[in-house]
Symmetry: C2
Subunit: 261 residues, 2 copies
């Protein structure tokens, strides 16, 4: 058995999220189906960042274990090499253009796309203008009310550091007692014309955390909430203490970091 | 009778171009249908820049003439005002989100979206990277071969000025003898990471001119054509002298200028 690492990008618009889900189109579903055509097997896929419906990725990472005939089919002719360029091309020919496999390689045996990741980064795109740009309607949250970028950055700074993000997360149903303490290493807005971009990095994110943080920053930028109140909202450890969450379609997973990759 | 000016943006992906065309979805078709629901009439639409299938716009301009009951319905309650904000909102409620009407107003009687325009500007987006970004698959031409931006700008500079663009245009079928002399006032590439943006402005463009110019610049950037040969290609007045045209989906109409607006 060997461990394979895939790097991929996708436009989330046409998917009901990453995770396989019977009867609906998902990234994992399309990927598993292409992998099965190539390897004759359907290995369990481990993903670095499970994205929700409508959320995009430019640098998602997936790992799986494979042996025997399936492994022979993807490594045949490249026994020494750890790059599996032929697998990447074969997958790209079998998936729709809303998924792009950017790399495929053999990884260390103990590599696990989720557990081995030491940091993730997301980007959120909001358009602050009277009208949306229809070209980017599936990629940007259109906010009509004038936003104050300085206030949004004043709010964002309070999220940096180790915090219990209970006020900014959806409680995991399957593990209600799980820790929601996360360490944010970067949280910053910048403007590119009418497009406001939020860049956030953390060791890990709990469910809907970026969208909740963005929703709160936008409420601050609009004047509905105060930036200096963010620490109190964090301390409340109550989801109702935070502003409404931002819609999914503005969000993109842009990086996953590993210590040894 | 009064003249109405509409400003609009659209994502061209779902349309078979701007111009109304029986049996296929077009921007003019959707717009005319929404206008008819509101005014009870189907006025002839004049457009500043007829865009092809897959081409986008952030600042398209349309004009039409309307009188009687139809005019009353859109101006009712705003007799003095030249802004027709209510018409813009009504249209936006009736069109899909891939069209956004950004302004509606009464214009001078002799205003004609096409004839009154003194300049148009287009943007072309090309992604120069090993892999496409699936988020922007319908908005960017993905070019894998390494492009030299300086060479592309050396080529672009030759297009500035008054030239006969016969080598860079599709000959108009209905007016085979029409002049293809156009004056380009700006033609420049710049890079934003892997995204290469081309900005071109002219008094007017002939059919497929921007895509032909972009296709030629990219051939130069790739090393297939020489920048200093562009004047000879222009002088040839032969479409086969130029490199293949760029695909439509990277193109956006971004501005239309009027002397008095």
């Amino acid at each position: 058995m060997r461990t394979v690492r895939l790097d991929l990008a996708y436009r989330g618009t046409g998917f009901r999220g990453f995770a396989a889900n019977e009867g609906v189109r998902t990234v994992a579903g399309d990927l598993a189906s292409a992998l099965e055509q190539i390897t004759g097997e359907a290995p369990a896929l481990v993903v670095a960042g499970r994205t929700d419906a409508g959320v995009h990725a430019t640098a998602q990472v997936v790992s799986f274990r494979i042996g025997g005939e399936g492994l022979r089919r993807i490594t045949d002719g490249t026994p020494q090499d750890t790059g599996l360029d032929r697998l990447a091309s074969s997958l790209n020919r079998r998936v729709n253009p809303d998924i792009a496999i950017t790399a495929a390689a053999l990884a260390d045996d103990d590599f696990d796309a989720r557990r081995s990741a030491t940091a993730r980064a997301y980007e959120y795109r909001a358009r602050n203008a009277a009208h949306p740009d229809p070209r980017f309607a599936d990629l940007e949250w259109h906010v009509r009310d004038r936003l104050d970028l300085d206030l949004m950055n004043a709010a964002a700074r309070h999220f940096v550091g180790e915090h219990d993000f209970r006020s900014f997360c959806r409680r995991p149903k399957d593990r209600p007692g799980a820790s929601l303490v996360r360490t944010v290493t970067r949280a910053q807005w910048h403007a590119d014309g009418a497009l406001l971009l939020f860049d956030i990095e953390a060791n890990a994110f709990c469910h809907q955390m970026v969208r909740a943080v963005v929703g709160h920053c936008v409420a601050v930028g609009r004047g509905d909430r105060s930036a200096k109140n963010v620490p109190a909202v964090l301390a409340a450890r109550d989801r109702h203490a935070a502003a409404p969450i931002a819609p999914p379609h503005g969000l993109t997973l842009v990086a996953v970091r590993y210590t040894d990759a």
